[in-house]
Symmetry: C2
Subunit: 193 residues, 2 copies
DNA sequence: ACCTGAACACCGTTCAAGT
DNA sequence: ACCTGAACACCGTTCAAGT
């Protein structure tokens, strides 16, 4: 909490180097092999003992969370911008598109995020919290604008978006499919009148 | 193909016993541990050498497919019944509810099915084919009844249904959540007028 | 024709030993 | 304070040897 805005935590310089190398290699591995990429191999590719990986990131989720943090932060701020520049419904739609793109970056990521939406996997809770807050803002605005039914909750939205990413990620044209599904979904969210 | 309706394939009686034991144990294991349950343990619990498991089921998907076959068949015939007894839209809705319930039986099943909808995992193709055909019939009827937009494809429907199962399966009240999401979805499918 | 299980290559995770 | 890597328990998969 105190180090989230006050810059990098204090570390011995070799430790810091290892930490960053691990992060870089892990991102690449997750992108190429999915979120279940071999930790042993990540350590090896980072020229680091496996124990060092575990010291910095006690669980796979901790490592994943670290890799995700930056991206998720920019996702949130993009959401805020959109809220200011677009009409409520478009803001929501466009932002959700970005979220889906992000969730599709690593195979299996959407599953992990779903798990954390459901309360498991406390490691990713911070990452999800940010998303949830942004989604809440955009959804509320859309609701006030009468563009979305009252019964639709933030959980609904996030769950669906995860679902779309999940089910699209192996499809031949992920982005196209995802867009179509998202459009159908927003149509479902809209009020009947 | 020739043995799908002409009864069980010819096997030595001990082989047949092993085959069925494996099937029973595997179903239980998949239900309890998800579709990635340890094959080694399944073989052990079935009192069978691991090689025997591989002889009968060369891949995990083959085993899964065998476990699923019966259930998926009854799912298809239930779909046909519903097509005859309910109004087109209700038939589709109610059948999709059943599909979701089935996909939620094993953790991770929806992911596997999605993979096979997308053309990977040929092992499960047969199982998916049945689902697809039934979905096609029900969807066509709903379309003719003008209850569903023209652009909605079978793939859309199945993908969404998978998505719902997937994203619901770890939720606190899976069935309730799934129903809500399915309702929203059908709302999105409906024509604007 | 079918079964067995040892063998191999891999992985996650821990922890005593080092600097 | 941090790093290392051997050690342990597990898994998937193959295949030579058995009946």
């Amino acid at each position: 909490m105190n180090d989230s805005s006050s810059g990098p935590p204090a570390m011995r310089s070799d430790a810091r180097r290892n930490y960053e190398r691990l992060l870089r290699i892990a991102e690449d591995a997750f992108a190429k092999q999915g979120v279940n990429a071999s930790l042993t191999e990540i350590a090896k590719r980072a020229d680091v003992g496996i124990g060092t990986l575990y010291r910095h990131f006690p669980t796979r989720e901790a490592l994943l969370e670290a890799v995700l943090r930056d991206r998720f932060d920019t996702l949130s701020s993009q959401g805020r911008e959109m809220g200011e520049t677009y009409a409520p419904e478009d803001a929501l739609l466009n932002w959700l598109r970005l979220v889906i793109a992000e969730l599709s970056r690593f195979r299996g990521l959407a599953v992990s995020i779903t798990a954390c939406l459901d309360g498991m996997s406390p490691e990713l809770a911070a990452a999800c919290g940010g998303l949830r807050k942004t989604a809440e803002d955009l959804l509320t605005r859309a609701r006030l604008d009468e563009a979305v039914r009252d019964e639709v909750t933030v959980s609904d939205v996030l769950r669906f978006v995860n679902a779309i990413a999940l089910v699209t990620e192996q499809s031949p044209q992920p982005a196209g499919e995802a867009d179509r599904m998202l459009a159908l979904l927003m149509n479902g969210f809209r009020r009947p009148d």
